[in-house]
């Protein structure tokens, strides 16, 4: 692709992570969809097979809770454990195939300038906030509420049964050799992005995480940019 016509490139900070990073050649001006999703908002959209979907962490260390469904048959959906087993690794990055519970790839990560994304931490909810932080935190906005509102608005009959363990893009939840789990400082930074190709028609569901009680958003939930490109001709 001729990059001379691209809009101003996002300048990446010098990578400070040990991860293998891969940039994309796609130019934002060629995207068929380009929007900024504020912190705390839900979002859903169908991606056609072959389309490329990019999530940009605009301000850094923002957790983007994400689920994918087969758009034609939403009973088939992203499975964290099938994805982990298929690649023999807990973390998501370039080359990861996001597997369904039927053992089929829904999307493949084709570029990643962050280098590590979480598949164990799930989504925050009013009730888990009570357990994790304090009984009086139930009122706080949370990812599951955003998921439920988005599914409710879709009106396709999807609901709480359709919320298995989700991806947290840009979030770092390391597991230690002795089985400890921590919520480490983010590995992302302003402008880092992850990009994936739909391997079948998928429904993407996002909660741009509003969590204020832990460092998954550096205590400051921020907007993300969502771009979609049509399949290369």
């Amino acid at each position: 692709m001729n990059m001379r016509h691209s809009s101003p490139r996002i300048t990446l900070p010098v990578p400070i992570t040990p991860f293998v990073l891969k940039e994309s050649a796609l130019a934002p001006w060629r995207a068929i969809h380009d929007e900024v999703l504020p912190a705390g908002r839900g979002w859903s959209r169908e991606l056609a097979r072959g389309q490329i979907f990019r999530i940009v962490d605009l301000e850094g260390n923002q957790a983007v809770d994400t689920l994918f469904f087969n758009a034609r048959n939403p009973d088939e959906r992203y499975s964290a454990t099938d994805t982990i087993r298929a690649q023999g690794n807990l973390y998501l990055t370039t080359g990861t195939r996001l597997m369904s519970g039927e053992g089929r790839p829904l999307l493949t990560i084709v570029a990643d300038t962050c280098g590590r994304h979480d598949t164990l931490g799930g989504a925050c909810s009013a009730e888990s906030n009570q357990v994790r932080y304090a009984l009086d935190k139930k009122y706080m906005h949370n990812c599951r509420d955003s998921f439920l509102l988005e599914l409710g608005r879709l009106g396709r009959g999807l609901g709480k049964r359709d919320l298995p363990s989700n991806i947290n893009f840009f979030m770092n939840v390391p597991v230690t050799a002795d089985g400890g789990l921590s919520f480490a400082d983010g590995v992302s930074a302003p402008g880092r992005y992850v990009e994936m190709r739909a391997e079948t028609d998928v429904l993407a569901l996002i909660s741009n995480c509003p969590q204020l009680n832990n460092p998954c958003n550096a205590y400051n939930p921020t907007p993300v940019r969502l771009l979609i490109w049509d399949a290369a001709p």
């Binding site: 499975s79 454990t81 087993r85 909810s125 009570q130 050799a177 089985g179």
Partner: protein, 248 residues
């Protein structure tokens, strides 16, 4: 004992556990893998949540003192005893394709009731008996299995995690539908299909086994103290007469 049963290799199993009952799973051979899912028996829309279980307890595995959380901030079951030491939460379960790739077709036509069953199919069968199905499949627990991860996230099945006679006691903290599959773990390198029998028993918690104020599962983390408080509040909501819960 309310129940003593042998679950044959390959077999699926499901039953409701009433609050206060204890389910013991015993690995008779040192090679068991019992894949498990848990639901609120009254309202199965509430189900075991791997992520909430791990996050609340800062752990990637299950053992004594830890609890299995639902997606509603409540404790479905607590692990009050465990002579194995590590039960897996992160590696999911096998399916028909994985089983065939590893062990060959293993169909009923040839093998009759020794045919190769797998956890995903077993879950679908048992869930179907309760009006549940694919949409109710979530990341499951695998008792007697250890899958480790290195710094780069690479996972590995750990041999000799369990031993003959190892057992785990699961105390139901609410009325819980338990769904089990006694089938090979997809990362177990054993060359032949041969899940061993697993012993299973259910008893009512003795007074000393009940979740009092000093209960190890309740006190192991401040999060669990809050989880038990929410679970007990729910018990008072749905069964005001039981255990002196008081009227609403």
């Amino acid at each position: 004992m309310i129940l003593e049963e042998t679950v044959r290799g390959g077999q699926a199993w499901s039953r409701r556990l009433a609050r206060g009952q204890i389910l013991r799973l015993t690995d008779t051979t040192g090679t068991a893998c019992v894949s498990a899912l848990f639901y609120n028996a009254r309202e199965p829309l509430e189900r075991y949540n791997m992520a909430d279980t791990l996050k609340a307890q800062y752990t990637a595995f299950l053992t004594t003192g830890r609890v299995l959380y639902s997606d509603m901030g409540r404790v479905l079951v607590s692990i009050i005893a465990d002579t194995c030491g590590w039960h897996d939460t992160i590696s999911g379960c096998g399916d028909a394709a994985a089983s065939e790739a590893r062990f060959g077709q293993g169909g009923y036509q040839e093998l009759r009731n020794d045919f190769h069953r797998n956890a995903r199919d077993n879950f679908l069968i048992e869930l179907g008996k309760w009006g549940l199905g694919k949409r109710d499949l979530v990341p499951n627990a695998n008792f007697f299995v250890r899958v480790s991860a290195d710094d780069s996230g690479r996972i590995a099945w750990v041999p000799q995690n369990t031993r003959p006679g190892a057992y785990v006691d699961l105390r139901a903290e609410m009325d819980t539908l338990v769904v089990l599959s006694n089938t090979p773990h997809p990362l177990d390198p054993a060359p032949a299909y041969g899940p061993p029998p697993v012993e299973l028993s259910i008893r009512v918690a003795a007074p000393i086994e009940r979740p009092g104020p000093d209960d190890r599962c309740r006190t192991s983390r401040p999060e669990n103290g809050r989880g038990f408080a929410l679970t007990e509040a729910y018990a008072r909501e749905v069964e005001p007469g039981r255990d002196g819960g008081g009227a609403l």
